[in-house]
Protein backbone atom coordinates (compact mmCIF):
# COMPACT_ATOMS: atom_id res chain seq x y z
CA UNK A 1 0.00 0.00 0.00
CA UNK A 2 1.27 3.46 -0.88
CA UNK A 3 0.21 7.01 -0.10
CA UNK A 4 -0.83 9.20 -3.00
CA UNK A 5 -1.44 12.93 -3.16
CA UNK A 6 -3.32 13.83 -6.32
CA UNK A 7 -3.63 17.57 -6.92
CA UNK A 8 -6.38 18.52 -9.34
CA UNK A 9 -6.11 22.13 -10.52
CA UNK A 10 -8.51 21.85 -13.45
CA UNK A 11 -12.24 21.52 -13.86
CA UNK A 12 -14.12 19.18 -16.19
CA UNK A 13 -15.96 22.09 -17.80
CA UNK A 14 -12.74 23.19 -19.48
CA UNK A 15 -10.59 20.05 -19.51
CA UNK A 16 -12.06 16.71 -20.51
CA UNK A 17 -8.96 14.90 -19.33
CA UNK A 18 -9.86 15.54 -15.70
CA UNK A 19 -11.99 12.39 -15.90
CA UNK A 20 -8.81 10.32 -16.18
CA UNK A 21 -7.43 11.91 -13.03
CA UNK A 22 -10.60 11.20 -11.05
CA UNK A 23 -10.52 7.65 -12.44
CA UNK A 24 -6.91 7.27 -11.34
CA UNK A 25 -7.87 8.29 -7.80
CA UNK A 26 -10.62 5.68 -7.80
CA UNK A 27 -8.37 2.95 -9.19
CA UNK A 28 -5.53 3.69 -6.78
CA UNK A 29 -7.94 3.56 -3.86
CA UNK A 30 -9.53 0.33 -5.02
CA UNK A 31 -6.02 -1.13 -5.30
CA UNK A 32 -5.62 -0.56 -1.59
CA UNK A 33 -3.69 2.70 -1.54
CA UNK A 34 -4.29 5.75 0.62
CA UNK A 35 -5.39 8.55 -1.67
CA UNK A 36 -5.81 12.23 -0.94
CA UNK A 37 -7.47 14.18 -3.74
CA UNK A 38 -6.65 17.86 -3.32
CA UNK A 39 -8.73 20.30 -5.37
CA UNK A 40 -7.11 23.66 -6.10
CA UNK A 41 -7.65 26.61 -8.48
CA UNK A 42 -10.54 25.83 -10.85
CA UNK A 43 -10.49 22.27 -9.55
CA UNK A 44 -12.54 23.51 -6.58
CA UNK A 45 -15.48 24.26 -8.87
CA UNK A 46 -16.28 20.57 -8.53
CA UNK A 47 -16.46 20.90 -4.76
CA UNK A 48 -19.84 22.65 -4.98
CA UNK A 49 -23.18 21.08 -4.20
CA UNK A 50 -25.69 20.51 -6.96
CA UNK A 51 -23.42 20.05 -9.95
CA UNK A 52 -24.76 17.88 -12.74
CA UNK A 53 -22.41 15.20 -14.03
CA UNK A 54 -20.78 15.35 -10.62
CA UNK A 55 -17.29 13.85 -10.72
CA UNK A 56 -16.72 14.31 -6.99
CA UNK A 57 -19.94 12.49 -6.11
CA UNK A 58 -19.02 9.65 -8.45
CA UNK A 59 -15.58 9.38 -6.89
CA UNK A 60 -17.04 9.36 -3.38
CA UNK A 61 -19.52 6.69 -4.36
CA UNK A 62 -16.98 4.48 -6.12
CA UNK A 63 -14.11 4.97 -3.66
CA UNK A 64 -15.39 6.33 -0.34
CA UNK A 65 -11.96 6.04 1.28
CA UNK A 66 -10.50 8.77 -0.93
CA UNK A 67 -9.98 11.88 1.16
CA UNK A 68 -11.19 14.91 -0.79
CA UNK A 69 -9.83 18.31 0.22
CA UNK A 70 -10.48 21.70 -1.37
CA UNK A 71 -8.05 24.59 -1.10
CA UNK A 72 -9.61 27.30 1.06
CA UNK A 73 -7.89 30.15 -0.82
CA UNK A 74 -9.25 28.88 -4.16
CA UNK A 75 -12.70 28.48 -2.62
CA UNK A 76 -12.68 32.07 -1.32
CA UNK A 77 -11.50 33.41 -4.69
CA UNK A 78 -14.54 31.75 -6.27
CA UNK A 79 -17.02 32.73 -3.55
CA UNK A 80 -17.66 29.13 -2.60
CA UNK A 81 -18.59 29.24 1.06
CA UNK A 82 -18.57 26.31 3.46
CA UNK A 83 -22.33 25.83 3.21
CA UNK A 84 -22.01 25.35 -0.55
CA UNK A 85 -19.49 22.52 -0.30
CA UNK A 86 -20.56 19.10 -1.47
CA UNK A 87 -20.82 16.30 1.06
CA UNK A 88 -17.51 14.64 1.68
CA UNK A 89 -15.40 17.62 0.66
CA UNK A 90 -13.36 19.32 3.37
CA UNK A 91 -11.92 22.80 3.08
CA UNK A 92 -8.19 22.80 3.78
CA UNK A 93 -5.34 25.27 3.68
CA UNK A 94 -2.21 24.95 1.64
CA UNK A 95 -0.55 23.88 4.90
CA UNK A 96 -2.34 20.55 4.58
CA UNK A 97 -0.92 20.11 1.10
CA UNK A 98 2.59 20.92 2.33
CA UNK A 99 2.25 18.53 5.26
CA UNK A 100 1.45 15.72 2.85
CA UNK A 101 4.25 16.73 0.49
CA UNK A 102 6.69 16.62 3.37
CA UNK A 103 5.77 13.05 4.28
CA UNK A 104 8.39 10.60 3.08
CA UNK A 105 7.09 8.15 0.53
CA UNK A 106 4.01 10.10 -0.51
CA UNK A 107 3.66 10.04 -4.26
CA UNK A 108 2.51 13.45 -5.43
CA UNK A 109 0.96 14.02 -8.84
CA UNK A 110 -0.22 17.39 -10.18
CA UNK A 111 -2.81 17.78 -12.90
Amino acid sequence: MADYLLVESRDPFEYADTSYFYQMAEDLCKAGNNVTFFLVQNGVLMARKGISNDAVARLRSAAPAVKILADDFSLRERAISADKLADGVTSAGVDALVDLLAEPGVKAVWH
Binding site: Q41, N42, S74, D95, V98, A102, V106, W110
Partner: protein, 138 residues
Protein backbone atom coordinates in the same frame (compact mmCIF):
# COMPACT_ATOMS: atom_id res chain seq x y z
CA UNK B 1 8.28 29.52 12.40
CA UNK B 2 8.29 25.86 13.29
CA UNK B 3 11.09 23.59 12.25
CA UNK B 4 10.72 20.35 10.38
CA UNK B 5 14.22 18.97 10.68
CA UNK B 6 15.90 18.22 7.44
CA UNK B 7 12.86 17.79 5.25
CA UNK B 8 13.11 19.17 1.75
CA UNK B 9 10.55 19.42 -1.01
CA UNK B 10 11.30 20.07 -4.64
CA UNK B 11 8.92 21.80 -7.00
CA UNK B 12 9.38 21.93 -10.75
CA UNK B 13 7.51 24.82 -12.26
CA UNK B 14 6.93 25.45 -15.95
CA UNK B 15 4.25 28.17 -16.12
CA UNK B 16 5.27 31.70 -17.08
CA UNK B 17 4.16 34.48 -14.73
CA UNK B 18 0.78 36.23 -15.12
CA UNK B 19 -0.85 33.45 -17.14
CA UNK B 20 -2.39 31.00 -14.70
CA UNK B 21 -3.30 30.52 -11.08
CA UNK B 22 -0.64 27.85 -10.90
CA UNK B 23 2.04 30.47 -10.29
CA UNK B 24 0.20 31.74 -7.23
CA UNK B 25 -0.42 28.24 -5.95
CA UNK B 26 3.20 27.24 -6.37
CA UNK B 27 4.41 30.34 -4.54
CA UNK B 28 1.88 29.69 -1.76
CA UNK B 29 3.24 26.16 -1.39
CA UNK B 30 6.81 27.48 -1.18
CA UNK B 31 5.75 30.10 1.36
CA UNK B 32 3.91 27.59 3.56
CA UNK B 33 6.78 25.13 3.44
CA UNK B 34 9.37 27.73 4.43
CA UNK B 35 7.16 28.87 7.31
CA UNK B 36 7.14 25.26 8.51
CA UNK B 37 10.92 25.17 8.40
CA UNK B 38 10.99 22.89 5.38
CA UNK B 39 13.76 23.41 2.84
CA UNK B 40 12.48 24.11 -0.65
CA UNK B 41 14.06 23.57 -4.04
CA UNK B 42 12.45 25.16 -7.06
CA UNK B 43 13.43 24.18 -10.57
CA UNK B 44 12.00 26.80 -12.93
CA UNK B 45 12.03 25.86 -16.57
CA UNK B 46 10.52 27.03 -19.85
CA UNK B 47 8.37 30.15 -19.24
CA UNK B 48 8.79 29.97 -15.48
CA UNK B 49 12.30 31.40 -15.77
CA UNK B 50 10.63 34.75 -16.44
CA UNK B 51 9.24 34.78 -12.92
CA UNK B 52 12.42 36.10 -11.36
CA UNK B 53 13.25 38.85 -13.87
CA UNK B 54 14.45 41.95 -12.09
CA UNK B 55 12.96 44.42 -14.55
CA UNK B 56 9.33 43.55 -13.84
CA UNK B 57 7.58 46.87 -13.30
CA UNK B 58 4.37 47.80 -11.58
CA UNK B 59 1.82 49.71 -13.64
CA UNK B 60 -1.21 51.93 -13.06
CA UNK B 61 -4.69 50.81 -14.06
CA UNK B 62 -6.04 53.29 -16.60
CA UNK B 63 -9.45 51.60 -16.63
CA UNK B 64 -9.94 52.17 -12.92
CA UNK B 65 -7.92 55.37 -12.91
CA UNK B 66 -5.62 54.11 -10.17
CA UNK B 67 -1.96 55.06 -9.86
CA UNK B 68 0.98 52.70 -9.56
CA UNK B 69 0.97 53.24 -5.80
CA UNK B 70 -2.78 52.70 -5.45
CA UNK B 71 -2.67 49.65 -7.67
CA UNK B 72 0.25 48.14 -5.70
CA UNK B 73 0.63 45.62 -8.49
CA UNK B 74 2.22 42.41 -7.25
CA UNK B 75 4.96 40.99 -9.44
CA UNK B 76 6.22 37.44 -9.38
CA UNK B 77 9.78 38.66 -8.82
CA UNK B 78 8.67 40.65 -5.75
CA UNK B 79 6.90 37.56 -4.41
CA UNK B 80 10.01 35.47 -4.91
CA UNK B 81 12.28 38.11 -3.39
CA UNK B 82 9.97 37.97 -0.39
CA UNK B 83 10.36 34.20 -0.22
CA UNK B 84 14.15 34.53 -0.14
CA UNK B 85 13.76 37.11 2.62
CA UNK B 86 11.44 34.75 4.50
CA UNK B 87 13.92 31.92 4.23
CA UNK B 88 16.69 34.12 5.59
CA UNK B 89 19.07 32.03 7.63
CA UNK B 90 16.40 29.43 8.32
CA UNK B 91 15.21 26.80 5.89
CA UNK B 92 17.03 26.83 2.59
CA UNK B 93 15.39 28.10 -0.57
CA UNK B 94 17.32 26.96 -3.63
CA UNK B 95 15.81 28.42 -6.79
CA UNK B 96 17.33 27.19 -10.04
CA UNK B 97 16.46 28.73 -13.38
CA UNK B 98 17.08 26.40 -16.32
CA UNK B 99 19.94 28.01 -18.21
CA UNK B 100 18.85 26.83 -21.65
CA UNK B 101 15.38 28.26 -21.06
CA UNK B 102 16.89 31.50 -19.77
CA UNK B 103 19.06 31.90 -22.84
CA UNK B 104 16.20 31.18 -25.22
CA UNK B 105 14.19 33.96 -23.61
CA UNK B 106 16.95 36.43 -22.86
CA UNK B 107 15.75 36.21 -19.29
CA UNK B 108 19.06 36.33 -17.47
CA UNK B 109 18.67 39.56 -15.54
CA UNK B 110 17.04 38.36 -12.37
CA UNK B 111 16.71 39.32 -8.73
CA UNK B 112 19.16 38.21 -6.07
CA UNK B 113 18.74 34.63 -4.95
CA UNK B 114 18.12 32.33 -7.92
CA UNK B 115 20.98 30.53 -9.60
CA UNK B 116 21.52 29.16 -13.06
CA UNK B 117 21.34 25.41 -13.60
CA UNK B 118 20.03 22.66 -15.79
CA UNK B 119 17.90 19.53 -15.83
CA UNK B 120 20.62 17.68 -13.95
CA UNK B 121 19.87 19.92 -10.99
CA UNK B 122 16.25 18.78 -10.97
CA UNK B 123 17.40 15.17 -10.88
CA UNK B 124 19.82 15.88 -8.05
CA UNK B 125 17.25 17.91 -6.13
CA UNK B 126 14.69 15.11 -6.49
CA UNK B 127 17.16 12.49 -5.33
CA UNK B 128 17.93 14.51 -2.22
CA UNK B 129 14.36 15.60 -1.38
CA UNK B 130 11.65 14.17 0.81
CA UNK B 131 9.30 14.63 -2.10
CA UNK B 132 9.01 16.23 -5.52
CA UNK B 133 6.04 17.88 -7.18
CA UNK B 134 6.23 18.39 -10.92
CA UNK B 135 3.82 21.10 -12.08
CA UNK B 136 3.49 21.05 -15.85
CA UNK B 137 1.42 23.36 -17.98
CA UNK B 138 -0.39 20.61 -19.89
Amino acid sequence: MTTSGDKTITIALMDPPYESGTTTTALRIVDAALRKGINVNVFAYEGAVNMTMKGQAAHPNPVKGTSIEEQDHPSSSRFIAGLFELAGDGPKLDWVNCGLCVDERGAGDWIEGPRRGGPGDLFKMSQESTNTLIIGTR
